[in-house]
Symmetry: C2
Amino acid sequence: MVKINDNYLKLPGSYLFSTIGKKVNEFAAANPDKKIIRLGIGDVTQPLTPAITDALHKAVDEMGHAETFRGYAPDLGYDFLRKAIAENDYEARGCDIGMDEIFVSDGAKCDSGNIQEIFATGNIIAVCDPVYPVYVDSNVMAGRGGSYSEITEGFSDIIYMPCTKENDFAPQLPEKTPDIIYLCFPNNPTGAIITKEELQKWVDYANEHGSVIIYDAAYEAYIRTEGIPHSIYECDGAKTCAIELHSFSKNAGFTGVRLGYTVVPKELKRDGVSLHTLWARRHSTKYNGAPYIVQRAGEAVYSEAGKKEIKGLVDHYMRNAAYILNGLKEAGYSVSGGTDAPYIWLKTPGEMTGWEFFDHLLNNANVVGTPGSGFGPHGEGYFRLTAFGSYENTVEAVDRIKKL
Amino acid sequence: MVKINDNYLKLPGSYLFSTIGKKVNEFAAANPDKKIIRLGIGDVTQPLTPAITDALHKAVDEMGHAETFRGYAPDLGYDFLRKAIAENDYEARGCDIGMDEIFVSDGAKCDSGNIQEIFATGNIIAVCDPVYPVYVDSNVMAGRGGSYSEITEGFSDIIYMPCTKENDFAPQLPEKTPDIIYLCFPNNPTGAIITKEELQKWVDYANEHGSVIIYDAAYEAYIRTEGIPHSIYECDGAKTCAIELHSFSKNAGFTGVRLGYTVVPKELKRDGVSLHTLWARRHSTKYNGAPYIVQRAGEAVYSEAGKKEIKGLVDHYMRNAAYILNGLKEAGYSVSGGTDAPYIWLKTPGEMTGWEFFDHLLNNANVVGTPGSGFGPHGEGYFRLTAFGSYENTVEAVDRIKKL
């Protein structure tokens, strides 16, 4: 008789964004006349830019002719894309990351969910609280959660690092030493950033304790402030302790195109074993590469035209972020984030919980956001709005919220 | 100090097709004047057909305009594709599978590697020997292998079901009851098929013992013989014991496009838990959907034009299969498969091992095949050739082999 993986049963409720989707669909069905504005899930709204669609069309044409048709991609990604990534995202920033340390994938969500597989079940993970749920859920599914407590709203075996107004949404080095540390900057969901000096402390800590940092840099394109690191490899010694995750979703608008990459430096070893080799084995055994046409679209992100267009996309969303930030401040909300990140993190009014404020906003302003508690217990009393709407919708949403 | 997942270290050598790729690249580099013909890896060579490229172009255009842009796909796939699959692959064959039991993914390799996650580590798996390596390797990585023996060339905790000439390459019901049974028909690598009556025995066995069958139907489009089941759900009771994996790689030539799907019937429960719910949770937590443009290409596979074109692709490859089968028979080889499958399984001449024959063929005929031992110890002494080359190359390869 087969036995199921009962770690799955420890997960409270369904995946956050699935729950939100269901709530919004129900509201929409019951209120077909209302114009709902979605600033909840971090999904982009601007179309793919011409450099990208041109590259996609060209690659589709290649796939339609025998001489230029491409079957299975190289396990770890096409060289043309890995080279463009290495040159633009690393070499240009003074980071010593080679193209053979870059693993192309179908997105940072998959990579952030799968990366834990190369580590033993018994490792202790540490996450920020609030946190992007995939880090926690994927580890719980793999048996690293321990038991869930409805009182702490957390798992017994996971180290939570509270990020609240009191510590300026910056995690503190934990008392108990974790084996694996998940960090995401610019942060999802709080929009907080980390300075190079602060990040260097984490790198030094990890090297000292033999921990590994999983660094999620999905939002680096939104950094505007000088001196904020775009990559953890800007810190000394990061190559012996850090894996970095990247997305094309938030810069180039690839949420529906699916492309990402993960950097595992060759110098990164534990138990005398190269993590690069383990991840390569994982990739070649359980993954078959991102579509050729999508990898060509990724390459176009780094073309001269592509860079210009993508800067335009990011500028667009950052104009939204500024509008939300200023509008909510004017309306008397306590807000943070939104200056180097596409997320605005606000304190819910009065004693409202995140889900109460969610319902309040959906019912009375027809605006969808994300309850902070969905990201962890220390997110309770907070709420996330994203800058990924159209400018018109963003303005309308903020104006509606102001009128509440 | 982080600990690695040392189950990875139990895997002998690297992933089979990575090894072959390296060997071939080395030979090519040393012999730049030789024309190498690749009949090794199961990768297609014919370009995407017009119905597919039209659908891709159209979807790319949609992605380039704000009104028709699509971001994150629904967790389990777009309805338009799930509906087309349910109607064409199931309803049309009299199988009662609903569109909400279909999970769209980026390919059958990923699904066949990931599906084991929803089961407990302690389950005993059974596989055919020889077998597609992903079933074994993904379970070993998850800790279900036990220890590897160089003598048996197998893992202590895995039940191997030998498929040899003596049993007509058909696995026998195992003596010890497995919890999870991997079956693939038409078979990779042997090209063997299973009758509905034989498959019914496995379904009855699984229902009786509470086992779950992972049924890999990636090659069903190649079935020519009447009465051979295209889906395990043609058998009575399969919905309470079987998960089915499908690929678009081998029918529509999507090896570089990446699309597949998995069926988990809602009736399939173990420990009182719906496996459908577990797989949905896995999908929504660790996966972000196949690209919109690729899902539209999948939809086009089921259009009238698409069906006609894809039949043409399969016919093309089956003409190759017939040519290989007949040519090798004429040359005195003992061969099987190739009538309802794109794979030809041949006995190596004399006492040659599979890798010896691999080198012999590469060096003297410049033809790449796959050593049977790469698929498991009972594949030793056999060799796989695929029908996925161009017709011209296939003819040339067979003629070269004949001259050896």
